[in-house]
Amino acid sequence: MTPEEEQVVRERQRARAKVMAWLLGAFVVLVFAISIAKMQLGG
């Protein structure tokens, strides 16, 4: 792999990791909101 290719790989990995972090954060918030909603419904 050339240094340019390695650079592209790192950039893509970094971008994917960032998106994954945002999605995981959103999922945590969503699960929290679902739990509150379910508790309000008495479920």
Binding site: V9, R12, A15, R16, L30, I34
Partner: protein, 303 residues
């Protein structure tokens, strides 16, 4: 993620390619019809749970789209319209697409069950399985009727939305299912008339390729009749008010006029297939407006 299974792929896929696997454009109609099913249900749903239900419908549709692209990458590479997708373009390996699709499918169904109920989760899983196994793997390459039966896959969202809110499935959501089911053939065959050569090159037995243009045009006209009848049925049966009834009659009159024009004409080489393109474009608008009218009717008249 593993990129070694396809020798053409040497770099890891971008996150945008995973997003492209979910067919976001197709998802808009799925999400909209699912939302309408949820909004017209007689039982109101908690907004957070309603949002989650729609999210799960979108994720389930995305999973089905990803698995469809995983299975059809060979076909996609032969068609101009689909050659730029991540797999045929060599931007992603097949194994990544498979893992992504299966993971997303399980995630969407489990989250749906946790947030809403078992009925909604069961219908969601049935819709994913139907699209992947019945339509993509079984029917699409074998029969020109592929889109007729396969249309059921796209008809599930309003039923899922309704089930998420109520926990059951009654006559109205089944009629909404039937509307999309009967709308799919004329919608898709209008498209297949002007991308016929693409399907022929890929060896997909779409109706215009197998039975010819004349038969396809007749079938578009024929399918419009039961579609219009089922679209008007919710009002005729007293399940909706006059707002929906008036919208359904007007929209079906326009659809029928456009379908009749396509049905009765013969294309001449180089004519641009304008009537077919108009019918295809209107068919999308038709579904948006019809389901929008259903929600408006529910909010204003509350039938």
């Amino acid at each position: 993620m593993n990129t070694m299974t396809n020798p053409n792929v040497s770099l890891p896929a971008e996150w945008r390619d995973f997003l492209a696997l979910t067919k976001p454009k197709v998802m808009r109609l799925v999400v909209f019809t699912g939302l309408c099913g949820l909004l017209v249900a007689p039982q109101a749903i908690n907004p957070v749970l309603g949002f989650t239900a729609i999210l799960c419908i979108a994720l389930g549709a995305g999973a089905a789209g990803a698995l469809n692209q995983w299975y059809e990458s060979d076909l996609d590479s032969k068609m101009k319209r689909t050659a730029g997708r991540p797999l045929p373009a060599g931007r992603m390996d097949r194994q990544s697409a498979l893992h992504f699709g299966v993971g997303l499918a399980f995630f969407s169904v489990i989250l749906m069950e946790l947030a809403t109920n078992m009925v909604a989760a069961a219908v969601l899983s049935a819709s994913i399985l139907f699209y992947v196994f019945i339509y993509t793997i079984w029917l699409k390459r074998r029969t020109p009727q592929n889109i007729v039966i396969g249309g059921a896959a796209g008809a599930f969202p309003p039923v899922i939305g309704w089930a998420a809110a109520t926990g059951n499935v009654t006559l109205l959501p089944l009629l909404l299912f039937a509307i999309i089911f009967l709308w799919t053939p004329p919608h898709f065959w209008a498209l297949s008339l002007f991308v016929k050569s693409d399907y022929a090159n890929a060896g997909v037995p779409m109706l215009p390729v197998v039975a010819g243009e004349r038969v396809t045009r007749h079938q578009i006209g024929l399918y419009t009749i039961p579609m219009a009848a089922v679209a008007i049925a919710p009002w005729a049966l007293g399940l909706t008010g006059w707002v929906y009834g008036a919208a359904a009659i007007a929209l079906n009159a326009v659809f029928a006029a456009l379908a009749a024009r396509v049905s009765l004409r013969r294309s001449i080489p180089g004519d641009g297939m304008k009537p077919e393109k108009q019918l295809f474009a209107f068919s999308i608008l038709y579904l948006f407006l019809l389901f929008g009218a259903l929600v408006l009717d529910h909010w204003t008249i509350g039938a």
